[in-house]
Amino acid sequence: MSSSVIRRWHLPRLELPSWPWRFTWLYLGLVLFLPLGGLLLRAAGVGPARFWELATTPEALATYQVSFGLALVAASLNGVFGLLIAWALVRSRFPGQRLLDALIDLPFALPTAVAGLSLSAVYSTNGWIGAPLYAWFGLKVAFNWPGVLVAMVFISLPFVVRTVEPVLRALEAEQEEAAWCLGARAGQTFFKVVLPQLMPAILAGVAQGYSRAVGEYGSVVMISSNVPFRDLIAPTLIIQKLEEYDIEAATVIGTVMLLFSLMSLLVINLLQVWGLRYAEDVPRV
């Protein structure tokens, strides 16, 4: 694809200089496609049988379980609580609301190493939250798999809130009023009128958060004990393999993660398309 595509399709309107196009593609090529191609080329060089063998070693499978499994739990938790937080931000008035609103974005802004440091301090067995959890329930959070879960929850918290909030704000009061007039209870109105309209946004947020949590490294590596078969995540395994000069294994596990990212990007896009279509289909009163 190049400037010729543009010219054919749209250019009677405004002749833009073609150098932004060339620069965009050159930049994408050097910064994105070259490294991506390098990884895929190396992965192709491994051969299918060997690839499968390395991708499914017990060690690798255990890390997938931790990464993909715990990230799913974290993203789902944030699906529920993200909706609740968005609801509190849009439909309630309470003191401290602006602070809450600002805090939601902190996981986006805070470097992950700082997040890892602070989470592992607060959730360690002598931390503010970790100590009571340990004393009352014997639950060791930091340097154990629940710590990994906490880090993943932290890192994926903003997504659902920020995707649901605008949709919730734009919901038309008429529909809920109609439901009320027809005798629906609050619960019925919520589950049958409001929730279906929010669903595409919730799922898109969950998918984005999931994809982020699966790939997260900085905060998780600091709160995890990084013990294989217990709380070792796939990105950390890639780094360990690199440190052992086992380039082949690192390439294979990295490719598995890359393929997952591409798939989740596709799902997120489809969900967004679904959300748009849904918005158009709903007749506006």
Binding site: M1, I6, W9, H10, R13, L14, L16, F23, T24, Y27, V31, L32, L34, G38, L39, F81, I85, W87, A88, R91, S92, Q97, D105, L106, A109, L110, P111, T112, A113, V114, L117, A121, V122, G127, L157, A173, E176, W180, C181, L182, G183, A186, T189, F190, V194, S211, R212, G215, Y217, G218, V221, P235, I239, I247, G254, M257, L258, S261, L262, S264
Partner: protein, 297 residues
Amino acid sequence: MTTISPPRTELSDPIAPPGKPARRSLASRLLPALVPLVACLYVGVVIFLPALNVVLQAFAKGLAPFLENLQNEELRSAIRLTLLITLIAVPANAVFGLAAATAIARHQFRGKALLLSVIDLPFSISPVVVGLMLVLLFSPSHGLLEGLVNSTGWKILFSWPSMVLATIIVSMPFMAREVIPLLEEEGWEQEEAAKTLGATDWQIFWKVTLPTVRWAALYGLILTTARALGEFGAVAVVSGNIAGETQTLPLFVEDAYKQYHTELAYGAALILGAVAILSLLLKLTLERLLERDRSQR
């Protein structure tokens, strides 16, 4: 509004619908208070307490030890390297974002959605995989470009060039993502007018396009900078993590923490945290400006 205004599903005040006896269940009376309470508790436990903890720990022994920690030579070198990387990566991505936006936003072409997804790709790839990709390219012993690396003698891996590249990749989408939707919304009448009046492309860009997108571009710039300053995973893989040489501030935080230099770790973390909070404040201000711009149109 009509005479009766039924409540939105605030779960707050379910006036009984017509024909039903007025009845307020316990749940519907508690929910309106409960929703914000649970929201605050959740955010408090996951975000607020950890953030507060860093600040308190950094100043645990007062201001003097904190300032003393700032004299640490390795910390200073980490700050310098982080600034260097940011100063290269952010302008590069800013130029890319603006170029991509002017090239993409105002045209419909086959594969546009795909191209936008491709630009978003660094958001969904794990930073560690980004680092791995660079290792596979530039490693002098087994990289795809080892010929180039060895014949020129450039030290790319385990040195600042690969760290810059890693930072560029992970922070690439922010600028483009902020500017493209705004330009799409805006239409191109103004550019056309400028063109008719004989302006050159360069003049159009500086005098029409850039002023139009200024707040969005600044917003994108802040997000890019925040990410570039804080990047950990991708940089960790390619840096080699040598204290005083190839250690950025986030890497320093982790290293100091692992070496039980807890105060030093908290001091460095506080610097990064302060920058993060500053970027959040700037973001909020810009959101207000963007909103104002939009309502004036």
